[in-house]
């Protein structure tokens, strides 16, 4: 696409409180995933691969790590002369006091001045905590071809799942005729993925109106999309098929990691035409010791494995001692499992130490055990 024809804004302010101790110190988009990535690498790499030059990352809660990470725009090649990743927490202005972002739409409203600097025709609004690969340039082409005011990416879910999502009711031309937030009795199974392309001029006008509306929660799903629909604007659904995951809970984060053990997983991180970029820690390749027993596993560089690893994902800097057993588990970055310890159906948080001969988790547990303190 042309330079700055479409600007991307990533909503990365979520507290992710259902991830418990994993998000005590880092915002959810900075949580580690897939051996070497952080969740926000996915929307950022998608932007880079879709030819988008300028990305704003809207942070809010506990953003120091997320902020300094996203600021390294070179990780995604977004550091050329006219491109950049800009971290945008709430800020004080001449005409308003310092205030938190009151909702997803307010986060954009508070950064209208930033967006105006680039004078884009289209605005892409993304969430910072979903795992998926998507070509936003194709979505923009669809938006243009449909001559829509807004295009919303949707994916088919089951009727049961549909009760947990914003659901789009469309006609045969993918035109959105109605929208329901978490309906008890869904009229459609097309769930919004929280990915929007807007005509910037139209959205801008609407945001300025919404800003002072006391009845508004300043949210895209609750306020802006309904306002567009009620205003008679053309909204279309862009159908996505492929891997998409909101890793909102420990179970779903574990599951998303386990998905990678299937060689034919839909996400396919090994696709040379659509790489996910991340920080490279410059360590050695994975060291697999003389007595190691490796089964199905997903292991990244900078690890040392001297024990058994089966059906598990081992992140950068993790170590598995001699005679230790890692079964159906996820070892996040820097985890050290000492000799003889056994870890089963557990997700061990960053830099945790599992001591010699400790037994953690169990094969029969229904839920995945989160270990966030040394054991």
């Amino acid at each position: 696409m042309k330079q700055n024809e479409m600007l991307a804004m990533i909503l990365a302010g979520g507290r992710g409180s259902r991830l418990h101790d994993l998000t005590n110190k880092v915002a959810k988009p900075a949580v580690s995933y897939g051996g070497k990535y952080r969740i926000i690498d996915f929307p950022l790499s998608n932007c880079a691969n879709s030819g988008i030059s300028t990305v704003g990352v809207l942070t809010q809660y506990e953003s120091v790590l997320l902020g300094s990470y996203a600021a390294k725009s070179g990780l995604w090649g977004l550091d050329t002369k006219d491109s950049g990743v800009y971290v945008l927490p709430p800020r004080e202005k001449a005409d308003s006091d310092l205030d938190v972002y009151r909702g997803t739409a307010d986060a954009i409203t508070q950064n209208i001045d930033f967006i105006d600097n680039y004078d884009p025709e289209y605005l892409l609004v993304l969430s910072g905590d979903h795992i998926y690969k998507m070509n936003y340039d194709k979505m923009l082409a669809y938006h243009k071809a449909q001559n829509a005011a807004a295009t919303i990416a949707v994916m088919p879910v089951t009727l049961e799942e549909a009760t947990r999502f914003g659901i789009m009711i469309t006609d045969e031309d993918n035109k959105i005729i109605d929208f329901e937030e978490k309906p008890a009795h869904p009229r459609s199974t097309l769930a919004s993925m929280g990915i929007y392309v807007f005509d910037w001029a139209k959205l801008r006008a609407l945001l300025i109106k919404d800003k002072d509306d006391e009845n508004s929660s300043h949210d895209f799903g609750n306020d802006i999309i309904p306002a567009l629909l009620n205003g008679g604007e053309k909204l279309v659904a862009f159908k996505f098929e492929g891997y998409w995951k909101d890793v909102g809970t420990i179970d779903s984060l574990w599951e998303a990691n386990m998905d990678l053990l299937d060689e034919n997983n839909e996400l396919n991180l090994n696709d040379p035409t659509w790489r996910i970029y991340t920080e490279d820690a410059a360590p050695l390749p994975a060291y697999i010791g003389p007595d190691a027993e490796i089964g199905a596993a997903y292991i990244t560089q900078g690890t040392r494995v001297e024990g058994e690893v089966k059906n598990s994902v081992i992140f950068t800097g993790a170590e598995v001692g001699k005679g230790a057993h890692i079964i159906d588990s996820v070892l996040m970055p820097g985890v050290k499992v000492a000799e003889g310890a056994t870890v089963t159906r557990a997700l061990i948080a960053n830099d945790i130490k599992v001591s010699k001969d400790a037994v953690v988790g169990s094969a029969d547990s229904k839920e995945i055990l989160l270990v966030a303190q040394d054991v």
């Binding site: 390749p285 994975a286 199905a296």
Partner: protein, 369 residues
């Protein structure tokens, strides 16, 4: 900011069968994800030497792409620079292709450096060295030149194209080819510290004496006129001078005792990232005592081997004591022992290639067999 600039010489005098037909030794991949040149560049960067000249003898493409502007080596592009310097024209008779000739060709670039000292390091040797400490040590000693050497006890093996230092205490009495029948020798690490002015004069002197003199030749010839001192290097050291030493250096570094000595937390070895995903291991796999890069699919058996990025080891394949390079495919039931497999090679299902450890085999770039 160090008071020295760094020179990395091309090591064009070393000959590694096979690999070197496609790139210079500095551009050889090493331990799966590095290239040999990453070691001297990281040594300079970690020593706060941010102005670095890399001399290239031939086939510059892969080296130019790998080094780029040096950001991944932590060199501030505004205050420092990694400069790649090319020979004028490679001479048909190889004896003429000396480092002195390459320096003379690029003398204007050397003069622009405006640093009091120069540190010279080879592109073909794997070791960690704090050159800032060596520089301070050199300045304090009052010597004209400081050379670095490593004491070995297996001099008969693997140092054939290296030089050795003849020492009297720490005074250098002679530099000569490693042809001795002794086991103990002081292998010259082709590393020099001296004032930049002295380098100029040695370059001029060498050219005046002989068109085929290299820097070590002229230093040797001038030993009687100068105070040349040697400092012993401790720690992991591996010169890449033959296919056998290349394979050995890789396999020696599987052992954490060796790799912990070379890769220290406060002395990172930088390289360029390729954004490969983690490696996928299968239920059928058996991996022992190996280093495995990212992006691989490992279904077969791997022992005592180093596996490069994106390699595929199929079910039933057996790889022992090998260096498998990036994007190689090892077919089902294939057996490889003591092999260096160059990049993008395909070993068909069932193919067996076994060599003795003393004379490892080389499988060519993009070859299919």
């Amino acid at each position: 900011m160090a008071k020295a600039f760094g020179i990395i010489t091309s090591s064009a005098d070393k000959k590694v069968a096979g690999l070197q037909e496609y790139r210079s030794i500095g551009a050889f991949s090493f331990l799966g994800r590095y290239r040999v040149i990453d070691f001297p560049i990281s040594n300079f960067s970690n020593s706060n030497i941010n102005n670095i000249q890399v001399y290239i003898a031939s086939m510059p493409r892969s080296m130019v792409e790998h080094i780029g502007t040096g950001r991944h080596y932590n060199i501030n592009s505004k205050r420092g620079k990694i400069q790649i310097l090319f020979p004028d024209q490679t001479m048909a008779n190889e004896v003429y292709n000396t480092n002195i000739k390459n320096f003379r060709r690029n003398i204007e670039q050397i003069k622009k450096m405006e640093k009091e000292y120069v540190v010279i390091a080879p592109s073909c040797m794997i070791f960690a060295q704090d050159y800032d400490a060596l520089l301070q040590d050199h300045a304090q000693s009052g010597s004209d030149i400081t050379l670095l050497y490593h004491k070995v006890t297996d001099a008969k093996k693997g140092y054939a194209t290296c030089n050795v230092l003849d020492l009297d205490g720490n005074r250098v009495k002679g530099i000569s080819a490693c042809l001795s029948d002794k086991d103990e020798e002081n292998i010259f690490m082709e590393s020099y510290v001296m004032k930049t002015e002295l380098l100029y004069s040695l370059i001029e002197k060498a050219a005046a004496v002989s068109s085929i003199y290299s820097l070590s030749d002229i230093v040797n010839a001038e030993l009687k006129n100068m105070d040349v001192r040697a400092v012993e290097h401790k720690g992991f050291f591996a010169p890449i001078t033959s296919l056998r030493t290349y394979l050995k250096a890789n396999i020696d570094l599987i052992n954490p005792e060796n790799s912990d000595d070379l890769f220290k937390k406060d002395w990172p070895i930088y390289t360029r990232t390729t954004d490969a995903c983690p490696t996928q291991y299968y239920a059928t796999t058996s991996v022992k005592n190996s280093l495995i890069s990212n992006g691989c699919l490992i279904k077969g058996t791997v022992e005592n081997s180093v596996i490069g990025r994106g390699a595929v080891i199929e079910e039933g394949a057996v790889v022992k004591n090998c260096v498998i390079s990036a994007y190689d495919k090892i077919g089902k039931g294939a057996v490889l022992e003591n092999q260096v497999v160059d990049k993008y090679a395909t070993i068909n299902d069932g193919t067996k290639v076994i060599a003795p450890a003393a004379t490892p085999g080389y499988i060519k770039y993009r070859d299919k067999l």
